[in-house]
Subunit: 377 residues, 2 copies
């Protein structure tokens, strides 16, 4: 039994934060069974035991990605998905279009520009979804278009693009362009049938719908995208999809991976499979409907075009006559309920309720009961 210098064990250590009704749209709450796995003993990530975990996690992710392609888990957050989708499949100065309906779409475009791609940005007003007909018309006018990127579920505005209509419109307008979908805050909660929709790159993050702490970014590429990667010249090493696929074919990761987060994702995916994919999707649809109805009953205005309301996050204008930041601070300190504020130009204007992953109507009812009480003050 290891006993370090006695001082080490006598010291006052940082303490666990208080558990809250945690309504951020990422990180999201972690079930006790998943939390416990974060404390499991280490194992060799190049061992038959880890290969079993890798195969089980991959299979369960394929089920939720609705793809026959292998799904890779990279260390990192959703933003790493942008970089993986860029660095592996394109060459310097390649022309791509990025459709943005909010802050995360804007940042996807910035990532593509940072990698020296020739980016045409197609913006829609915040709160609105992308119009597939407008997108099709604009992208069909771009010469040598190699890729079209869009956010499925825009976490900053709580708008969900119609992923099927948009994918189909893009494929029809520019059949040779690769379609990359940032489904960071929707996958695992909402159906995104990758293969059926002809999506070429699809990615998400463990801290969103997957009931797992942040630190894993899950990514799949179509056969066509992998073919394109062979001639793509942007530099890559850590994010190299082919290197990772090659290692995975031997049952191992390409480098040391976050072992404890893999344990946790493995447990979470097993729970999601037990609940059943359709049940998970239905639960999120119910939660989305509940939050929208409840907020409106309280007289609060919703930010998003309600035809495209997200089922994983809801952006809500602050109560009339109240400073939204002070309002959120009171809810946190007095009611132990944590909402997110607005991002970029919505800072201080809206608040956002997350309802993805490990959450039920009961959690949301408790959170909005607190909102109701504080509005009456």
């Amino acid at each position: 039994m290891t006993t370090l210098d006695p001082k080490t064990n006598a010291v006052s250590l940082p303490q666990a934060p208080q558990a809250t009704n945690f309504r951020l749209p990422g990180p999201t709450p972690v079930p006790p069974q998943v939390a416990a796995a974060g404390a499991w003993p280490m194992m060799n990530h190049r061992s038959p035991e880890f290969t079993q975990i890798l195969r089980r996690v991959t299979g369960n992710l394929q089920h939720f990605f609705q793809t026959e392609q292998p799904v890779l888990c990279f260390p990192g957050s959703g933003s790493a998905g942008w970089e993986v989708s860029i660095a592996n499949f394109f060459s310097p100065a390649d022309t791509v279009a990025v459709i943005s309906i909010g802050n995360f779409g804007d940042r996807y475009a910035l990532a593509a520009q940072s990698f020296g791609l020739n980016v045409t940005k197609i913006d829609f007003p915040w709160g609105q979804a992308a119009d597939p007909a407008v997108v099709a018309e604009k992208i069909s006018q771009i010469a040598n278009l190699r890729g079209v990127f869009f956010t499925h579920n825009e976490t900053s505005t709580s708008v969900a693009n119609d992923v099927a209509a948009l994918s189909k419109a893009i494929a029809a307008a520019v059949p040779d362009a690769l379609i990359s979908v940032d489904a960071v805050s929707s996958l695992g909660c909402v159906s995104v049938p990758m293969d059926e929709l002809g999506i070429d790159m699809l990615f998400t993050g463990s801290q969103k719908g997957w009931m797992t702490p942040p630190g894993l970014m899950m990514f799949a590429a179509s056969k066509r995208a992998l073919e394109a990667s062979k001639s793509a010249k942007l530099p890559r090493f850590y994010w190299d999809v082919n290197r990772a696929l090659d290692a995975m074919s031997h049952g191992y990761p390409p480098y040391t991976i976050p072992v404890s987060l893999w344990y946790q994702l493995d447990v979470a995916l097993t729970m999601m499979r037990a609940e059943g994919r359709e049940h998970v999707f239905a639960r999120h649809a119910e939660m989305g409907a509940y939050v929208r109805r409840r907020a409106q009953e309280l007289g609060l205005k919703l930010f998003a075009d309600q035809r495209f309301a997200s089922n994983t996050v809801t952006a809500i204008y602050g109560p009339e006559g109240k400073d939204v930041k002070t309002f959120l601070k009171t809810l946190k300190e007095q009611d132990n309920v944590v909402f997110a504020g607005g991002q970029a130009k919505l800072d201080g204007v809206i608040f956002r309720a997350g309802h993805m992953g490990y959450a039920t109507i009961d959690d949301l009812a408790e959170a909005f009961n607190a909102v109701e009480r504080r509005m009456g003050e």
Copy 2:
């Protein structure tokens, strides 16, 4: 209280792996206090509470990096350190030299080549350290040399380069080149005084000397390196050091970070500060000496040039007349002791004992008692 579909809670979940006497050179064992923090409730990574953690972790890392420069924590493993040290500070076709004394030096060179740098590789035989005089002579003949990279502690061969002598020789020979030191498996265990030695880029991984699971890569850059980053043209976004420093100056990370791994690193660093830096270094020196003495007493041959023996990992030839892989398998299955095998050309030739981070002489004695028993069979 959240209750998902009842099936979710009734299902048979993946179970914790058995705790072992875990003697890999990464991942390494995690103390119970650190393990527990992996199960703590999530918090907002853009909140005053997280800012406190960020500032405490940064300060403690600066103490162990022995630098006044800020230390960044990126998601990822040690290999990400190679990419961060390349992408931020160089431009395509820049000339660099990579000194390799083993598998990780070879991979650092491969990473630099993958990013389109013009790489001169300076190899020393596996088991040997780099000779500072030879290095100085070779690099002084390279025109327009922009950087020199080397591994401090080569995990594949258990050789520790003389980081002070090597840094000084490089600085004298090519004063304008940036010096990058991969100290993944030494920092926190062995003294690497970054500022005093004039190291420009220095990095390590949470799963080595830091008593924390894998998933964080800690990185510091000198003022001179940060100045060079302003004109460096390699593409970067996720690994962008300046973007991360800018966010950190406001108390936040640049994107969603692995919150639970940060909790764990915070606890581990607090324990390491309580033990005391010099005590931690002395403990590793004692452990290194113990393993080398014990192995030799058992009649086992050490792989590394003993003038440069690592104090965090020891590579040992398999016992004469025994297949080393079968030997390790028996130790694992019968004695619950896990060693690492050899890498690349040393696969099936050596085994490696890790003695870094959360480990004491007692742990090592138990492991080598098992080796002694099995050698007698």
